[in-house]
Structure formats: C-alpha cells, structure tokens
Symmetry: C2
C-alpha cells in the first residue's frame, strides 16, 4: 500500500512526494524501497504488487525499476485501505487463486529485518491452506496513544503455530491512561496494519462483510490484465466505500488471529517516532543531511535537504526540517498541528 499522503512529516513528506517515496532515514533509500527490500527472500519481485494513487505511479516506477509495470495498481482516487486491498486481492486471485498474500504499508520502519522475515514466513505457513485472517501485533514498548491496539486471547493449544493467538478485539487509539493499562497487561499489541491471508480468504471476507465492494471487483475482475483495466477501474473504483480494512473486515470477521512480534517496528508517523528510530548522538540529537552542528542542544532532530550548513544552539526537544525551501521548526510532539497550518 503506497497511496498515502502523510503530511505530519511536512515538509519532508508532501502531497507531491509523500513519505513512502522519501529517504526519511537518510540511508539512500526511500521507505518504499526499504519495504520491498524487506521482502527479499520471502517472494520474488514479480509477486510484489504496489497499490498507489495514479499520480504516484511514475514515482513507483522510478524507485522500483525492477518491478513489472503491470504490478503497479493505480487507484483513481483515495478510498482508504479496504478498497485498496480488495483491488490487489482480486487481481492476485485472478493470476493465482491459491496465492497467499501479505499486506503491508510501505511507509513504516522495521529495524530487525531478519526477525521480520522469520515472522512473515511463519505467518505465511500459518495461513497457507487455511481460512485464517492473521495480523501482526507489535509488542508495545511504551503507552503509545498514536496506535490502535489488538487484544489477544492467550492460550492457543489448538492452533498449529504456537506463536499465534486468537484476537479478542481491536481497540481504537486510546487515551494515555488507557494505553498505560493496555501496556500493563501482556495481551495487548500495536496494530501495525500488516495482514497475512490466502487471497480466497480475504475475497470471501469482502463478499460477506463488504458485498458492495466485492461486487465492484467481481465486475472488474474480467478486465484485469487487459487493456481496458485502467479505464474500468477508473470508472468503478470511486464507487467503493471509503473505509479502512480494520473497520470493513477485521472488526467484523470471526476467525482473526494475531502474531505478536518484536522487530523494531515504527510507523514513522511523527517526527518524534522518526527521531526515536535513528542513531542519536550523546545528547540524543539526530542529524540527517548536510553539515549540522549542535551546541548546548539536546533531543533535537534535524533533517535538511538543501542546506549547506545548519547551526543549532541552546535548543531542546525540537524538530528542524527543511525540504524544497520549506522549513519547519516545531516543538517535538506538536506535529499534529502541522496539518492545520500547512493546509
């Protein structure tokens, strides 16, 4: 899934170039490229499908030159994750009706790629030949209010994979107090938006729980891999309800499972989360790009693209970010105000 337009990381992430296409870590690769790299050894590139807005298709092509062009699915408009996933599921199903499928955002961070691969491999084994809907639950390391939570039913003697548990319920982003209570228990996990299932399972789930969306893709399926595909998708996709897969399927279906995991995951949704995931100096400062000099400064994050030199003196706990001659100076944790101001 590469259609988002994250603007909490403005000016690094903009409507024209959202963060999945940006080298936010300063490592030479965009988050999308890192996400594809993460699946090396799990599946070949021909089996990678990128769903994105039509306007980002050329960015995807540019950043993933080895990806077959037909593997880029172009949404004519944003309809949240449920229609996005349905499009990919029906398309993959047409090519291989028994395929197993991993759904992942393309703008997240994973520190321990080896453990990620082990978890995904194990998850694919779990869903193969079953009708299980499996999500990855991240073992929480702090009472984070920016994530949804998954409540698991511990005790799983009947399941084939001892690391997998049944889901009791999905929880919306909590208050701080509620998040503290979740973390104090040992059966609440962050919802990372990563799902594993057999294509027939998710297609059936759409048929049961979101039949209007299912009908649209049943109609579209004959056009997939034909010259009329885009025209038909452009005509019918906008009819899809704007709904997340969590609301559309997860919270309604019965056989939902969670694989609790720890692979150094972050959604990089805020400057703070980005700061926490990068190499910090002794004063907990992070600098990306150019010649950055700190004096008497702590807990600061500097990310610049066009600056020759940046000097930061006497600052604490703030973000300094520049891209394309847009500049943000923001108290860490106040990023939710960026959207209001830049809109």
């Amino acid at each position: 899934m590469a259609g988002g337009a994250g603007n909490r990381l403005w000016p690094m992430s903009t409507e024209e170039t959202p963060k999945q296409f940006v080298d936010v870590l300063g490592c030479g690769k965009s988050l999308l490229q890192l996400t594809v790299d993460r699946f090396a050894g799990i599946c070949p590139i021909e089996n990678v499908w990128v769903v994105t807005s039509a306007k980002y298709a050329s960015l995807v092509k540019e950043q993933l030159p080895m990806l077959p062009a037909e593997n880029i699915l172009k949404e004519p408009c944003r309809r949240n994750t449920a229609p996005c996933i349905a499009y990919a599921a029906w398309k993959i199903k047409k090519r291989d009706p028994s395929a197993n499928m991993v759904v992942t955002p393309s703008d997240h961070f994973v520190a321990d790629v080896q453990e990620f691969r082990r978890v995904i491999d194990s998850s694919l084994n779990f869903v193969n030949g079953s009708d299980a809907i499996l999500t990855i639950g991240i073992k929480p390391t702090r009472p984070e209010v920016g994530y949804g939570y998954i409540e698991a039913v511990l005790g799983n003697s009947t399941l084939s994979n001892k690391e997998v548990f049944r889901v009791d319920s999905f929880k919306e982003k909590p208050s701080y107090e509620v998040a503290e209570a979740y973390v104090a228990k040992n059966n609440f996990y962050w919802n990372a938006g990563i799902f594993i299932w057999n294509v027939s399972t998710i297609v059936n789930a759409f048929r049961v729980y979101q039949s209007p969306i299912a009908s649209i893709f049943e109609y579209l399926m004959p056009y997939f891999f034909t010259p009329e595909e885009q025209e038909q998708v452009d005509a019918r996709f906008p009819e899809c309800r704007n709904i997340s897969v969590d609301y559309a399927i997860m919270e309604r279906a019965d056989e939902i499972f969670v694989f609790p995991a720890s692979f150094g995951w972050s959604d990089l949704g805020t400057w703070l989360s980005l700061h926490d995931n990068l190499q910090q100096d002794i004063n907990r400062n992070v600098a990306i790009g150019g010649d950055v000099r700190f004096a008497d400064t702590r807990n600061c994050f500097v990310s610049t693209h066009g600056m020759k030199r940046v000097v930061v003196i006497g600052m604490d706990n703030c973000v300094i970010a520049e891209k394309d001659n847009n500049l943000l100076v923001c108290k860490m944790g106040e990023e939710n105000r960026i959207k209001d101001i830049t809109d």
Copy 2:
C-alpha cells in the same frame, strides 16, 4: 566606518557580506544605505567618506552609486577603529583643513532619524571652531551588558551647549549588576561609537596620544588624491597599531564631552537587539522574508531569504535565520556561541 565583519548575526551577516551591507530590517535597504540616508540634510554626499576593507569596496560602490569613488577609503587589513578614523581624518583634512567630522558606524540602527539629525547638527555647532572631542551618549533604557558606558559630569554652566556635558570616564562592558547600578544613576550613557570633532582636533589628538599612527598618516598625506595613494596606503597602513579609538584617544584625552541623546539607537549586535527593534506581532514574534506561519509560538525571530514557506510551532524565545542555504536555530541570547561554531 564600514569595515566590520559582524558574525554574531550569522548566517545573515557573513565574512563575505557583513551586516552593514545586508537588509537586516527587511526594509529594502542595507544598514549602510540607511546610515547614509540618515545624513541627508546634514551633509552632501560628496562629503560622505566610507572606510572599508578593500574587499568590500565593490559592495560599497554598488550600494552607494552616488558616492564619488574617491570617497571610498580602502584598508588593506583590519586595524580596528583608530587607524580607520585616522585615515579618514587626514584625508578630509587635506581637502578641507577646517572641516568638522562625524564618525559613525554603518551597521547600527536609529529609529528616530529626525532627532538624530537634530543631535548631530547641534553637535557639529558645538565642535565648530573648538577643540572639543564630542561623543554621543545614548540614554540607557535597560541594564545592557553588551555596551560600553560613558560617565558624565553633570552641571555644565560653562559650556556653550546646554545639552552637552564633560566626560568623567569611559567604562568597559559591565557585569549585569554593575550595569544595573549605572542605569540607576542618571549620568551613565551607552557609548554608541559616534564621535564629532573638527579634523584638526582629532589629528592633533593622534599626534599627542598615538604618535606612531600619526607619523604614518603624515607620511601618507602627500599621496592622498594621487594615483599612488592606494599603493602607499597598502604599504604603510598595516604598520598601524590595532587599537580602538576608545582606547587610543577617548580614554586618554582631557577635553572629552558627551551629548546624551535618545533617538532609538541599537547596535543590532545580536539577534535579540534586532528582534527588539522590529515590528512584533501580538505574540512578540517577528518575521522577515517569505511566508512565515506561527502556531503557539512567542518571542521568536524568523529571518529567511531563500525559503518559500516557514512553519514554526510551539517555540518560545528563539531565532530562526536562513541565508544562502545556511540555517541557524538558536535560543535567543545565546548568539555569542555562533562565532565559535561557525569558525
């Protein structure tokens, strides 16, 4: 005097383009241009002399196209204010031995230009035909530790100008406690580095108190206004002692007078002083250049040249300055650290 290389306002002021050549107020004119404008009505442009480093001569020419080229005096190296003033004094004396002379820095700010002109006119009348050395003393508005102070002897019944007083002593930049004590009295003034005298007075003062410097300019005088001037100045000027006019003359001479004045003066030596002298919004923020947006931000100063948009969120009491792709983010008042870091 336009030879300084103020680096406390980095990156706005740099070695290549020091602040006297920069439009630091965002008004469309550099401080040098504003300084020359301030003398309109006091003397014609042919009587304006600019002493600067040789490397800034073209900047002066560019910014003051109406200034006769020979009125730009080019120092081959920096030797502080005493040799700078001596050069101008001897040169002016050669053209007009009875000229009166105002010495002024070119990188300061004056809010009330009308009052400035009144004070300077009155000062010129006072020194005309006398051997008085007159300085302008700025009535202090706060216990500033960044300025030197002038202690006056109140009671001046013998003087021709009732606004002028004898100087008791010059005081170095004080500690905060000492500055508070100065301000509590009513006979201490900020030393603005503005001097008024007859050229013969200052030439004689150099002969008495700085005879090595005087000898150099006596030697050079015959070359002034000849094709050999620059070559001779380049050869001999470096021999001058590196010393300020305050140490060289003011603190030694006897007949020193002060004209206490209030015309909204600032040396703009720090970002804080610049912030205090510009139009502030209701949250005491100042923005120069580009599209600057503040949220939950107070007492901040933003000065950018190359930015399309600047967003500042949740900040207090800081400076954000960008020029030529150099960026400073600095706690207000910590500017004295800039030099160490950018060197």
